[in-house]
Amino acid sequence: MRKVDIVGVGMTSFGKHQDKSFIELAVPPIVDALKEANMKPSQVEAGFCSYALAGRLFGAVTAGQTILWHAGINKVPVVNVENACTSGSTAFHLAWMGIALGQFDTAIVVGVEKMVVPNLGLISSGDTEIDTLEGLVTPASFAMRALCHMAEYGTTAEQLALVAVKNRRHASLNQLSQFRDPITVEDVLRSPMICDPLTRLSCCPNADGAAVVVLSAAGRSRRFTAKPVRVAASVLVTGSYENPIDLVPWETDYRACKKAYEIAGLGPNDLDVVECHDAFTISEILHYEAMLLCPTGEGGRLVETGATSLGGTIPVNPSGGLLSKGHPVGATGVAQLVEGVRQLRGEAGARQTEGARVFMAQCMGGDKDGDARSCTANILMNN
């Protein structure tokens, strides 16, 4: 396998982009990322474009070819990717794989979603699934995990709320985040109940947004940039769907992170900064545990110590996370990597983790039989 580097990134702000179509939203960050990489469109040898909802919302079919053509990229292989909330990180995984296996030397990953539209409703695992027909909506499946975590390990509602408070504090330092005003534990607990015990401020909001990553075979990356960032591991796994399965600890999440550590030859103590899939407050606590940032059951107490805040021993979601930025499904997994690259290059401004060398992005998507449909773990590092 060849080594692979990220040589350019770009992203829009996350929030409402009512003046732009789904296609229009995706193009400017491609131009930015190519400019950053000093790469001409004709030098891009493959494209991977992820979106999860645009088919349903706008009837988009194989939109990646249209989006990339607008940015001057044509003729090369283009793949459209849907893998629920990991659509973006899956597109990245495929681009990484193609370069690592020597199929091409450069590739672009474009994650885009436009979902601030009337009557979007709640995300579920698909309208024809029996679980959905029986009333399972995504926040309810995480609310059930939260209840189990509270019952099993004594995690409190206040500890859950602290995740949202911390991520919002981080977001105040990120101009690209949809919500940036500070919130308190009380604000979180008193916001309207969505699915007990998760309140509105415990759930990530919808957003429009796009994010882009440009990759190159490591041997060629310095032709494009003086600051390439190495992909130390890229892992994609699927749930086990064993029955019965426990909601906590989350075996699939642990399995993805463990595999990423093994491939990178690193462990949790090597990480300097992390982005994880905080779709709900409980999610971040579960992901702490799967990433081995703390023992199983200790996630609630970890956030309380401040270890995962900026300035702490292992800052998590310095971007503000999904809870502050919002969650444009197809873009989220790519945006996590954009934040990681900016942290590792020392370009994260007021939210910079000093001297960050190793970054992990954990992302998770979909619901099936009490498990995730997909989970990705990507580790990036400075050379």
Partner: protein, 132 residues
């Protein structure tokens, strides 16, 4: 004459008066499934239909307070219920009239009633578990 009310999902339960959920059973692997899979995912052999236990124990639950899908009441509870006899943990609607006093470990049993609509927007018979 009115058409009979349809089931929320074809073949998912039998006998709405004295209901049983219909799962799958692989005679080779001696495993049960719910819902019944197309073939056994462990040995790829054929799977027979088997009625499951009416009695369950709440493993976890939540009360959905936002605008409900499929014409369900607001709020409604949803849970993961252990069918102890079958060794299965299933996602299911819980009794919308009994959102108070739900707890992990509570015993529940199966009911079928006209409740909400199906994927096609038609009134349907839906299963749920109610506290014993």
């Amino acid at each position: 004459m009115d058409e009979p009310v349809r089931d929320v999902f074809p073949g998912i339960f039998e006998d709405s008066k004295n209901p049983r959920l219909i799962g799958g059973h692989c005679p080779g692997c001696k495993r049960k499934f719910f819902p019944k899979p197309i073939v056994c995912p462990y040995c790829l052999g054929p799977v027979g239909a088997t009625p499951l236990s009416r009695e369950g124990v709440i493993y976890s639950f939540s009360i959905v307070r936002i605008k409900p899908p499929f014409g369900l009441p607001q709020p409604y509870p949803v849970g993961l219920v252990d069918l102890v006899e079958d060794g299965l943990r299933i996602i299911t609607l819980l009794d919308p009239l009994k959102t108070e006093g739900l707890a992990i470990g509570k015993n529940v049993h199966l009911m079928v009633e006209p409740l909400g609509v199906d994927a096609g927007g038609q009134t349907c018979l839906r299963y749920y578990f109610t506290p014993v």
